[in-house]
């Protein structure tokens, strides 16, 4: 992350200078900062709503039931997480909301899952294997019906806007399955997480 952050900013400044767009790049800092706060604040209400709903779902045992249904899959994907952890139910809800294209609901559910996964995490500042798997599932963006895209196509008068559904579903499935496989491969070969705080502090110093 350190390198990507550095790389993005340095490249932008160099390319901006080469293209004579340096003032746009500088303006983008302010606009980006403002946008970040706008995005975060626009999340507050919907986040509160779904976190409230999720609490009811959890207390009523609904999350547990969903977790049980999906257990054969999650057991393999999240083998470090105890089977009875509420994280499994949250992950299942997050995946279902994503698949249905309900991103407003999916994000709070995913963040709830992250909170539960953090309880099982050995090193609180570094991503656990389970977290990387959840992120792989989310960044791949699996979705059954691309509603927004279809709306745009209808807007410009496409005769058959639904013809993109099947190809999109095929592509999104390929990307989703690849993400899970890649995460599993990295889980095996990437240097394991350090649980000893002293070594992680040394690493942090090195990274900084």
């Amino acid at each position: 992350m350190n390198y990507i952050f550095y790389f993005l900013i340095v490249i932008s400044i160099i390319a901006g200078a080469l293209n004579g767009k340096l003032s746009e790049v500088v303006n983008a800092i302010m606009q980006g900062a403002e946008l970040s706060v706008k995005v975060a604040f626009s999340l507050i209400g919907i986040m509160a709503f779904w976190l409230g709903m999720m609490k009811i779902a959890e207390k009523s045992g609904l999350v547990e039931i969903i977790a049980k249904i999906i257990k054969p899959i999650t057991k393999r994907l999240f083998n470090e997480i105890p089977e009875n952890s509420p994280a499994i139910g949250d992950i299942a809800m997050n995946f279902s909301a994503n698949a249905l294209g309900l991103s407003n609901a999916a994000t709070p559910m995913g963040l709830k899952a992250m909170e539960e996964l953090q309880k099982h995490n050995k090193n609180k500042s570094s991503a656990s294997n389970a977290m990387c798997m959840l992120l792989a599932m989310n960044t791949a963006g699996f979705q059954l019906i691309p509603a927004t895209v279809i709306a745009v196509l209808i807007g410009i008068g496409a005769k058959n806007p639904t013809e993109i559904i099947a190809p999109t579903l095929l592509v999104t499935t390929i990307a989703f399955v690849s993400a899970i496989i890649i995460a599993k491969i990295f889980e095996k070969y990437w240097s394991p997480q350090t649980c000893d705080t002293t070594t992680s502090e040394v690493q942090e110093a090195e990274n900084a």
């Binding site: 992350m1 952050f5 900013i9 490249i11 932008s12 390319a15 901006g16 293209n19 790049v25 983008a28 800092i29 980006g32 946008l35 970040s36 706060v37 975060a40 999340l43 507050i44 509160a48 709503f49 976190l51 709903m53 609490k55 009811i56 779902a57 207390k59 609904l62 249905l100 309900l102 994000t107 709070p108 963040l111 992250m114 909170e115 953090q118 570094s126 991503a127 990387c132 992120l135 792989a136 960044t139 791949a140 963006g141 979705q143 059954l144 019906i145 279809i150 745009v152 196509l153 496409a158 005769k159 639904t162 559904i165 190809p167 999109t168 095929l170 592509v171 993400a179 995460a183 990295f186």
Partner: protein, 177 residues
């Protein structure tokens, strides 16, 4: 027919989920109102907590997009990608879709309006946008919410999967359209 089913799913998904949660809560005698407000309290905390991570990512990406580098990449890769029947106008979309969801939708609307609904470029970009999620945003929000700064292989996984998604989109569209 298919589009009717699709619309019905989009329309009913949320109401059905909300009704199921509330009814299950009522049956199990969960104090609905108290439990809801108790859970909702965290909404503010989570949203405000992710601001530092969002600022880092969104500012860097805004600078990247303003610098004109995406056009530079477009120009240098256009001849190579033309071999795979990739229209040059869809190249910015391949980069932008991992960086910003609203920008990706903007680029797609542009292409759709310029080329019309039946053009290959429109269909290819529709598939590319419909099958992607904004990798950088998801990473910032999810890891930011629990204060994790060392992502290990999560970003590489996301970007590799995005790349596979682009290759898959180009191949599938070549076959289908």
């Amino acid at each position: 027919m298919l589009s009717q089913i699709m619309n019905a799913i989009s329309l009913w998904a949320l109401p059905v989920i909300i009704l199921t949660i509330l009814t299950a809560g009522l049956f199990k005698r969960v104090p609905l109102y108290e439990t809801f407000t108790d859970g909702a309290k965290d909404g503010f905390k989570v949203a405000v907590g992710i601001i530092p991570y969002l600022v880092a990512i969104i500012v860097a990406i805004s600078m990247f997009r303003a610098s004109g580098i995406i056009e530079m990449i477009e120009n240098s890769f256009a001849p190579l990608l033309a071999h795979f029947h990739v229209p040059a106008d869809t190249i910015p979309l391949m980069i932008v879709r991992s960086l910003s969801g609203s920008a990706a939708l903007g680029v797609f609307s542009d292409i759709a309006n310029n080329f019309g609904p039946d053009d290959y470029a429109t269909k290819l970009s529709a598939v590319m946008v419909g099958s992607s999620e904004t990798t950088f945003y998801v990473l910032a929000v999810y890891f930011g919410s629990v204060g994790i700064s060392k992502l290990r292989y999560a970003m590489l996984t996301g970007l590799l999967a995005d790349f596979i998604g682009i290759v898959a989109a180009v191949s599938v569209c070549n076959l289908v359209f």
